[in-house]
Subunit: 236 residues, 2 copies
DNA sequence: ATCCTGTGAATTTGATCAAAATTTGCGCGC
DNA sequence: GCGCGCAAATTTTGATCAAATTCACAGGAT
């Protein structure tokens, strides 16, 4: 399995140390496994079609079987993983119609959410978004695919947080998990340099409160991004 | 303590089990637990705010701990249950802003999906929907709240199945799970007789291929239904 | 081609450990 | 003498694990 092998992730060791107040020190193991695997899906460390075995994760992360099970079940419920009827779990492979449907769903949810975000944007929040976008540009110039994916996700996440709409956010997160694994294919074929985005337009519209412009910008951002995925699938 | 209430729904649960869900006989236990609890949420057998304990389900469903855990983890991932930071799980209580957001999300997803369904509706499928709607009316006339909820859900599920859009369907299912527990409050206060619906308009529009009319009908159906929930919450 | 069987993984259970909530009990002030 | 609050003990529940069981698939024998 192609899972990254930096797992000095022995949870037990960390917990038996001083009862640390660190980021995930107190969190349940199943939560840690979930977060870790979720990042791997979102940031291109797993390939579509790749089988995911419970045993594999148990061995790799040094965690017990039950927490791994729960994390996988949770990800399956979110559509991030696909349970084939027969006890097998795989990273989903998107068909062209899947991509089309994902595009429509993203537009249906993200466009109105940006509309809401536009009415609640503060100068401070906009500055935060700009800072993320600058790091995003830096990652592109360096050709750092992984960092690009991280910052791009952070940008959208921060944007949607503005709207203060937990339910929309959860639905959108679910969608991102579905196409996350396909992004690596895109970057592998297109390269990060040619990735277009509407972030600059969006930021200006947010700053000046032009709701319609912002909504059109996110719509195009979504369409462009998903079109890249569609093209990448076509070639493969 | 909430033991009284818990034993209440648990008893009901055992009764429904005795009635026999042979359809899931061969399915894994965690799947069966999931289906059962999901039905309980959707069809008003659980109250918002009610605590859900793992061990309670273990004892009363006679299942092991791991399958129950997995089912609950899955339901929390779908937003059907709420994990309070401290290891406790409860049936979520919707605030007014939650209801508003749910309404917007339902409209954002269900309206376009009905648009798609409209282009794919066959006479046979429409007849099926009409059959469900008739059973729904019968349930209303008999004042059978549970059956009304079942048929209403079946109607919408069959409608969305027409569109053949698995991702939209999954997102919408997630939303239904969120407001399911609140429906009982609605029926308890309003009674089933006064529940309005746009199903007749919708069916005619489907049959004649009037896409815009169908979309407007589902929009109003959603708005009316959610308005009832909003009103019920206001009184409580 | 069908059936049998071996292998490996998923599923499930019961036990064990840890954390949270509840109750208990004691000292203190009124 | 009578509550009141805080802290320790109890008890309930959740989290985790290791072992036993079940299941699906692959290869070989009939």
């Amino acid at each position: 399995m192609a899972l990254a092998e930096e797992s000095d992730w022995n949870v037990r060791a960390m917990n038996t140390q001083a009862d640390g107040q660190r980021a995930f020190a107190g969190a349940p193991v199943h939560e840690q496994v979930y977060q870790r695997f979720r990042d791997m899906l979102l940031f291109g460390e797993l390939e579509p079609g790749q089988p995911v075995t419970i045993q594999g994760l148990v061995d790799l992360l040094g965690a017990g079987m039950t927490p791994v099970r729960e994390a996988l079940r949770r990800l399956t419920a979110e559509g991030a993983l696909e349970a084939q009827g027969n006890r097998r779990i795989v990273v989903p492979q998107l068909s062209q119609s899947d991509v089309l449907e994902l595009t429509q769903a993203r537009i249906a949810l993200e466009v109105p959410l940006v509309g809401t975000a536009c009415t609640k944007a503060t100068p401070k929040a906009i500055a935060h978004l700009q800072a993320i976008d600058e790091r995003l540009d830096t990652a592109i110039q360096r050709g750092d695919i992984r960092q690009y994916l991280v910052e791009n996700h952070a940008f959208h996440a921060a944007l949607y947080d503005l709207a203060d709409a937990a339910i929309f956010k959860a639905l959108i997160d679910s969608l991102w998990l579905r196409f996350g694994p396909s992004l690596r294919m895109v970057c592998g074929q297109v390269g990060t340099r040619n990735v277009p985005d509407q972030h600059k337009v969006l930021l200006e519209a947010l700053a000046s409160g032009q709701q319609e412009v912002a909504m059109q910008a996110i719509r195009e951002d979504v369409e462009q991004g998903m079109a890249l995925i569609s093209a990448a699938i076509e070639k493969a």
